[in-house]
């Protein structure tokens, strides 16, 4: 992978350098083309030489005409005008960019300079030329005559030079177009190479990603297998442990010596602790594999408090649990998991940390179930139970068995979107605060009129209907019954049912008995009573 990156870097650098070179080369080429176009856009300088040659010829023609016809003042003016015009053509060679370019063709021969010197030398004689002065005319003509041939040669030279410049410009533009084509070709090639490198890198990255994903899947599978093994083993261990506990309990019932009884009791307690540890391992595995279901059911907070007070742990010291007055009793949540959270944390504080004066106060703030665990720690050093709140102890390489409970509690708390905050005891008592979302349940109650002949049937019914939402009415209740549960005894029951229907006209009448379907009842449940069926029937009525 490292060598592949080096290759990519080398190719990328090469492409970068080549592109920089192309930009520089393209700029140079562009500049040359611009210069060529600037030259092409210049004034044509072929005509001034031709014009000068022509004006010299015209001047000499005027001289010859003057010599031949003796034209008088008019001819003299014509000669002077031709002289002036020729003068103006010479001036063209002396100024401006046109003059500069023309002079570049005349650097060695200096024809125009010599012509101008001759004009200056003969200026006075030309201006004062008198008709009939043949000698002067001949002299002047003889002085200017040699320039005719020289100017013709000069014109040819300039024309050839300008043609060569035109050829050079065309060549330059043609080669410029070729260079542009080369630049485009090389740039395209570079782009193709860059594209190939990108594709190659993308393929490498994809392969790496696939490899990483496979590794992650393998790690997940291994972790899952570990958790499943733990779960299975814990479950398998718990079954024989239950056998051990059962037999120990039976053994304790027989008459034994006090010493033996004490040992059995100790063994039974150890077995219970073992069961607790196995349960913790199961919970821990479930949390690790995100396989811990959380229920949202109604529960009684005060029942939860009662269960906590009876919770079996290794310290001979009952958990002190209070529910603040005015705290709603029926909440929505997972009673079992909540109990485990509080029990694990308080158990840890009492058993492992050895803090004292642990008191759990439960309250509700409208959205959260708030548990405030007050404690005292008077063993000298300040004990800061950080592991209750942070996740450091989940480090697999440094896992103390004592923190299994808090770890499970923390995991459950996270699962239920709650939080744990810890304040150390700085002399006035410490506080562990646990807040877990738990809505107050608005549970409708159902009034049940229960009337049986058999005490056993009544007791079974009472057990089945033990629910905070179900109110078993008494004669003094003075409320309307929603359900009438009446043990069926044939004709006697019919009369009684009529009486009850008069008292509770909207109630649903459910008969309890062994007879076939009885029409006077709305529903009929067979005896012996099935607790689950009875409970489901009443809950259904409550739901409807």
């Amino acid at each position: 992978m490292y060598s592949a990156r080096r290759v990519t870097f080398a190719i990328g650098s090469l492409i970068f350098v080549v592109l920089i070179g192309l930009v520089f080369y393209g700029y140079q080429s562009f500049q040359r083309d611009v210069e060529a176009l600037q030259i092409a856009g210049q004034e044509d300088i072929s005509w001034p030489t031709g014009q000068l040659e022509l004006e010299l010829m015209r001047f000499r023609a005027e001289l010859h005409a003057m010599e031949a016809h003796d034209g008088g003042a008019a001819s003299n003016a014509s000669v002077n005008q031709r002289f002036d015009i020729m003068w103006s053509r010479v001036i063209v060679f002396q100024r401006g960019r046109v003059g500069e370019r023309l002079s570049s063709y005349d650097l060695q021969t200096e024809i125009v300079a010599r012509l101008f010197a001759t004009m200056q030398a003969y200026e006075t004689r030309v201006l004062t030329l008198q008709p009939g002065d043949r000698d002067t005319i001949s002299d002047i003509d003889a002085a200017f005559k040699p320039f005719s041939e020289e100017l013709r040669e000069f014109s040819r030279r300039v024309a050839q030079g300008e043609q060569q410049i035109s050829i050079d410009i065309r060549t330059q533009l043609r080669s410029g177009a070729q260079r542009t084509l080369i630049i485009l070709g090389v740039a395209t090639l570079m782009l193709v190479i860059a594209l190939l490198v990108i594709l190659r890198d993308a393929r490498l990255s994809r392969r790496l990603a696939d490899h990483n994903q496979r590794l992650a899947e393998e790690a997940t599978r291994a972790s899952l297998a570990k958790s499943q093994f733990l779960t299975m083993m814990s479950h398998e261990l718990r079954t024989p442990m239950n056998g051990v506990i059962g037999l120990l309990a039976l053994a304790r019932q027989s008459s034994m010596s006090a010493a033996l009884n004490r040992m059995l009791s100790q063994a039974e307690r150890s077995a219970n602790l073992m069961i607790g540890l196995l349960t913790d391992i199961l919970d821990f595995s479930a949390l690790q594999s995100n396989n811990m279901p959380v229920q949202h059911k109604t529960f009684s907070l005060r029942e939860l408090a009662d269960n906590l007070r009876k919770y079996d742990h290794r310290v001979d010291q009952p958990m002190q649990v209070d529910v603040e007055a005015d705290t709603p009793d029926i909440l929505l949540g997972d009673e079992k998991r909540l109990t485990e959270i509080y029990a694990h944390i308080m158990g840890y504080m009492l058993e492992t940390a050895g803090v004292e004066g642990v008191v759990l106060r439960l309250s509700h703030n409208g959205e959260m179930l708030c548990a405030a665990i007050h404690y005292h720690y008077t063993k000298g050093d300040i004990w800061y139970p950080a592991m209750l709140a942070d996740n450091l102890q989940q480090d697999d390489d440094n896992f103390a068995t004592g923190v299994v409970g808090p770890t499970i509690a923390r995991g459950l708390c996270d699962l239920m979107k709650g939080n744990i905050n810890v304040s150390p005891d700085l002399g006035e008592g410490g506080l562990v605060s646990i807040e877990i979302p738990a809505a107050v349940a608005s549970i409708p109650q159902i009034n049940v009129w229960l009337e049986t002949q058999s005490v056993v049937t009544r007791k079974l019914c009472e057990v089945a209907l033990r629910d905070s939402r179900i109110v078993l009415m008494t004669a003094e209740s003075g409320q309307q019954a929603d359900v009438i549960l009446l043990e069926d005894q044939g004709q006697v029951s019919d009369a009684r049912l009529r009486a009850l229907r008069e008292s509770f006209p909207s109630a649903r009448a459910i008969g309890l008995g062994t007879s076939a379907e009885r029409l006077p009842f709305d529903q009929y449940l067979d005896l012996p009573i099935d607790i689950a069926v009875l409970r489901a029937t009443i809950i259904d009525r409550l739901a409807s």
Binding site: G41, E43, D44, E55, Q81, D84, I85, R95, G96
Partner: protein
């Protein structure tokens, strides 16, 4: 910061102006302003149309075969302008003074769709669209940088196309309209 830049502004301008050799050739007392056509005089048409026995400098054949001749005094009585521009026959930017082509066209009654032949002393001529003179400040220059043009130096009149102020005119095609030693204008 901004004050410093303001102070630096004229210095930078001075540097850029002095570093431009073409602009530097304009004399301090030039009548031209770079980028503008400056009106020097409103002209006096009474002088233009009044009979003048002087030497004819410019002969113009206008609409309905009318012939208008202008002596130097009559030419000078036309509205006078100054335009700074450059060309390939003189070094740098120079100040050209004279009447505008569009005023000359008004005198001969030329319209935008017409063309005129501009003829020089040596009978060289070129056909120029009148529209070009109406659109741009083409000047019939009688003097350059305050000095009257002689026949020996492109005089008496040099038709000047303002190439510096109009980039689209910077082409040899428009340079062909810059006839010098002009002495005749014929409306086609």
């Amino acid at each position: 910061m901004f004050n410093s830049l303001k102070l630096l502004g004229p210095v930078c301008l001075a540097i850029s102006v002095s570093s431009n050799p073409a602009f530097a050739e304009l004399s301090a007392d030039t009548k031209c302003v770079l980028g503008e056509t400056v009106m020097l005089s409103a002209g006096d048409y009474q002088v233009v149309i009044a009979p003048d026995d002087g030497e004819v400098m410019l002969t113009m054949n206008g609409i309905d075969s009318t012939v208008v001749t202008l002596t130097e005094a009559q030419f000078a009585a036309l509205p006078q302008y100054a335009v700074a521009t450059e060309n390939e026959h003189l070094d740098g930017i120079n100040c050209y003074e004279g009447p505008l082509g569009r005023d000359i066209m008004t005198v001969i009654g030329a319209k935008s769709e017409d063309t005129v032949n501009l003829t020089a002393i040596n009978d060289y001529w070129v056909e120029m669209p009148v529209a070009l003179m109406l659109e741009y400040d083409v000047i019939f220059a009688r003097s350059v940088n305050g000095e009257a043009l002689s026949v020996r130096d492109k005089g008496p009149i040099w038709v000047m196309v303002p190439q510096t102020d109009n980039a689209e005119l910077r082409d040899p095609f428009y340079s062909t309209y810059m006839v010098w030693q002009l002495n005749r204008v014929d409306l086609n």
